[in-house]
């Protein structure tokens, strides 16, 4: 139903499901908010967004106040300003105010509001009880001394991700966000970092490894190489003041050179490699199931490149770990290949090599430290920085990013195809796999306009497409007439929905791509804050453009990957490839 209301004297017609906060935006007024977060969290906790409603004695929080006919709203007055300031002072009396050496300074919603409302004195005694900093996890740090109890993180963890690892314990001034257990590391947390991505202050953030990387870079005995994930190029620019959706591949490589990395490799290379391993594994499973009717084969096969998804499955659906592709993620394949193939080729002993990854993802920090990720004989990936952390390092190093010229990745692990770029978006891994598998099996190119499978790549929800194989090559005649059903889901809440449907038998698939973060790695937990659907879509389009601009757009066309097979690994899923590029999983269960 439509209603007419007035906001600061301006009349506007809106539906009655519109909040005053949203209605105000339509007349050009941005009411300040702190706990509110679009599409995620609307609980009216912090009361910064208070407005006056004619006829009501108390100020009302506009983020949870819905328009009713004839409502008259005032969004700014001396009283409102004073109350907002007092609210901020109260919040700050429970807050460790060390902005000068706080990671979030200049990028902090609380600091920004305090500045804006001129909070200049501390009227209330500081009350910080039992500050606890939980840094037990490899990925996520929790600092209760900075927490303003807005609960955005809880909405991200329970509603968006359905992980339910963190929540509020105790009451009143003792309330605290925690996993309940002594340490986050022992909880069902999957390290996705979506909590850290939405926290308005420095109360949840990713583990800092910048110091280790800087130390390695200045150690003359170390040969420090770096790899950058597909999603970094579409977001790093935002840390340097460029608008979302600016692709900065070339500048990023130049910047990494300035910072002193000896070789700059592209995780895209191993994304292509992943497609060959995972695609081959899929065909092996399908052949066993369809041709030899082997009942022990686990289908559907699940992708394994998102470490948040992998841990989620290990905890929540431990009976399904055998459905995961055994192929390692591109990050881990790159670490292994650098410390074996590249090390031998260059004559640099692996113990001298330090592999740094730049990832959009906080869970990659955990993945790098999984005990099984040592097939080179060493920890395959040494340090993982998020996009945000690389941004910090660029600032610290004084790189004039915007004015840098473009450079290219180094050989031989820097070459990639467009199929690797789209690993960054939900549905992209599946599309890349289809481009290769279809051609491998039929000898013909995937019949899709611009090689994009209709309805597969998207930033939202759960998708499903089917593909029928006909006129297959000699070796694959058993696939003739088979219709493969594949799916893609991003966000663990969606992943849970798909899993429940598989378990209940409502749905059956051959192959499904899962990504822990909503929209895929483009909105990973380590990407620049704050990611909403508009930003997500811009990064998504930037990635798509990057793919479409490449001459080679299918993983099996990557000449460097083919060289790697000829010179070193033999063929996809060979014994050597299995030893180096595949892994196993742990049935964790719930606690």
């Amino acid at each position: 139903m439509n209603v007419t209301i007035s906001i600061d004297g301006i009349n506007i017609e809106v539906t009655d499901s519109t909040t005053i906060l949203e209605a105000a935006l339509q007349v050009g007024i941005k009411i300040p908010t702190l706990c509110f977060m679009k599409d995620l969290h609307k609980e009216g906790i912090c009361r910064i967004c208070l407005v006056e409603v004619a006829g009501r004695p108390a100020l009302m929080p506009s983020c949870v106040l819905y328009a009713t006919e004839g409502m008259k709203i005032i969004t700014d007055s001396p009283v409102i300003r004073r109350v907002r300031k007092t609210t901020l002072e109260l919040i700050l009396s429970n807050h460790v105010k060390d902005c000068l050496n706080c990671e979030r300074s200049t990028n902090c919603e609380l600091q920004e509001l305090a500045n804006r409302f001129g909070v200049d004195s501390w009227r209330f005694d500081e009350q910080i009880e039992n500050r606890t900093i939980d840094d037990t996890s490899y990925s996520i740090v929790r600092d209760s001394g900075k927490c303003i109890l807005c609960r955005r993180c809880i909405s991200a963890c329970s509603e968006m991700q359905s992980v339910n690892s963190i929540g509020i314990i105790s009451r009143g001034s003792h309330s605290m966000v925690t996993s309940g257990l002594d340490s986050l590391a022992d909880s069902v947390c999957v390290n996705c970092g979506q909590c850290a991505a939405v926290c308005p202050v420095n109360a949840i953030y990713e583990k800092d490894e910048i110091g280790f990387v800087e130390k390695a870079l200045s150690d003359p005995d170390k040969f420090v190489v770096v790899q950058t994930a597909p999603a970094i190029r579409a977001a790093l620019g935002e840390t340097q003041g460029l608008p979302p959706g600016t692709c900065v591949t070339g500048k990023m490589v130049s910047a990494l050179k300035i910072m002193g990395f000896k070789a700059i490799f592209d995780t895209n290379f191993t994304a292509d490699l992943t497609i060959l391993e995972e695609g081959t594994e899929l065909l092996q499973r399908l052949e066993k199931a369809i041709q030899f009717k082997d009942p022990s084969v686990k289908l559907p096969m699940f992708t394994s490149c998102s470490p948040g998804w992998v841990k989620f499955l290990e905890h929540n659906y431990p009976d399904y770990t055998d459905n995961l592709s055994t192929a390692k993620s591109p990050q881990q394949m790159m670490g292994t290949i650098i410390k074996t193939y590249y090390s031998e080729k260059k004559g640099i002993p692996p113990e001298k090599i330090v592999v740094v990854s730049i990832m959009p993802c906080t869970a990659k920090k955990f993945e790098a430290r999984r005990p099984e990720m040592t097939s080179s004989g060493f920890q395959d990936v040494d340090f993982v920085l998020t996009t945000r952390q690389l941004g910090k390092m660029l600032d610290k190093r004084g790189v004039d990013f915007i004015n840098l010229p473009d450079s290219s990745f180094d050989d031989p692990l820097g070459r990639s195809t467009g199929a690797a770029d789209i690993f960054a978006s939900s549905g992209g891994v599946m599309e890349a796999a289809l481009r290769t598998v279809y051609e491998l099996v039929t000898g013909r190119e995937l019949p899709a306009e611009k090689l994009h499978v209709n309805g597969l790549m998207d930033i939202h929800g759960i998708r499903e497409v089917s593909l029928t194989f006909e006129n297959c090559l000699e070796r694959y005649t058993w696939l003739n007439g088979v219709t493969a059903i594949v799916g893609a889901a991003s966000g663990l809440g969606n992943a849970r929905k798909v899993m429940e449907k598989i378990i209940s038998g409502e749905k059956s698939y051959h192959f499904i791509e899962f990504m822990a973060c909503p929209g895929g790695c483009i909105s990973g937990g380590g990407q620049p804050r704050l990611t909403d659907d508009i930003v997500r879509m811009k990064r998504f389009n930037a990635i798509k453009k990057e793919d479409e601009g490449k001459k080679l757009r299918k993983s099996h066309e990557n000449p460097s990957v083919m060289d790697l097979y000829t010179a070193y690994l033999g063929s996809p899923c060979s014994d050597k490839a299995h030893h180096l590029l595949h892994t196993h999983y742990t049935k964790r269960g719930l606690l």
Binding site: N164, G167, I169, S170, R171, S179, L591
Partner: protein
């Protein structure tokens, strides 16, 4: 399933002298009756606390897994109600009031004094198992603020130099019992 009164179960319980394994068995048995019953979380925690005397983390995790609830949800409930305790409780629970009236008249100083005398902080129990320290928000005796409540005794208009005396009186009580 018909309603199982947790208090009846608790009354029948003779668990004080059982081993941990026996206690978990007993709790498991009762939880299997509570499963799927609405509101069973609070009842389950009540029974668990009766059996174990308090709610150690492993018991909270056990309840969560048996009721198929997220661990954090069970922690949330177990820490929301002051009836539940995550730590073993002492013979005497000292509650220092920090409600507005008591706060204004020196409740905070009393709290610091008790902390110092007993060497424990809020929520903790002395190693001899005698005292557990807690804070409360107003016990309705504002006119006599600041107040300190020890089990059922309300001490009124307490001054911080009286704290050692008050604590001592309970120690004497214990030694008289022996």
């Amino acid at each position: 399933m018909h309603y199982i009164n947790p208090i009846t179960i608790a009354k029948q319980c003779t668990c004080q002298n059982q081993t941990d394994i026996e206690k978990f068995e007993k709790l498991g048995e009762i939880l299997s009756m509570y499963k799927d019953e609405p509101g069973s979380l609070i009842n389950s925690l009540y029974v668990a606390q009766t059996i174990f005397g308090y709610l150690p983390d492993k018991v909270i995790k056990f309840v969560a897994s048996r009721l198929n609830e997220p661990v954090i949800k069970v922690f949330g409930v177990a820490t929301f109600y002051s009836y539940f305790s995550r730590f073993p409780r002492g013979k005497y629970t000292i509650k220092v009031c920090l409600g507005t009236a008591c706060y204004v008249r020196g409740g905070k100083t009393l709290l610091e004094k008790v902390k110092k005398e007993l060497g424990i902080s809020i929520g903790e129990t002395t190693p001899d198992g005698l005292y557990t320290l807690e804070i409360v928000r107003c016990v309705g005796a504002c006119a006599l603020a600041p107040v300190v409540v020890v089990n059922n005794d309300t001490h009124r208009r307490v001054k911080s130099n009286q704290i050692p005396e008050i604590l001592q009186s309970y120690i004497s009580e214990v030694s008289n019992e022996n």
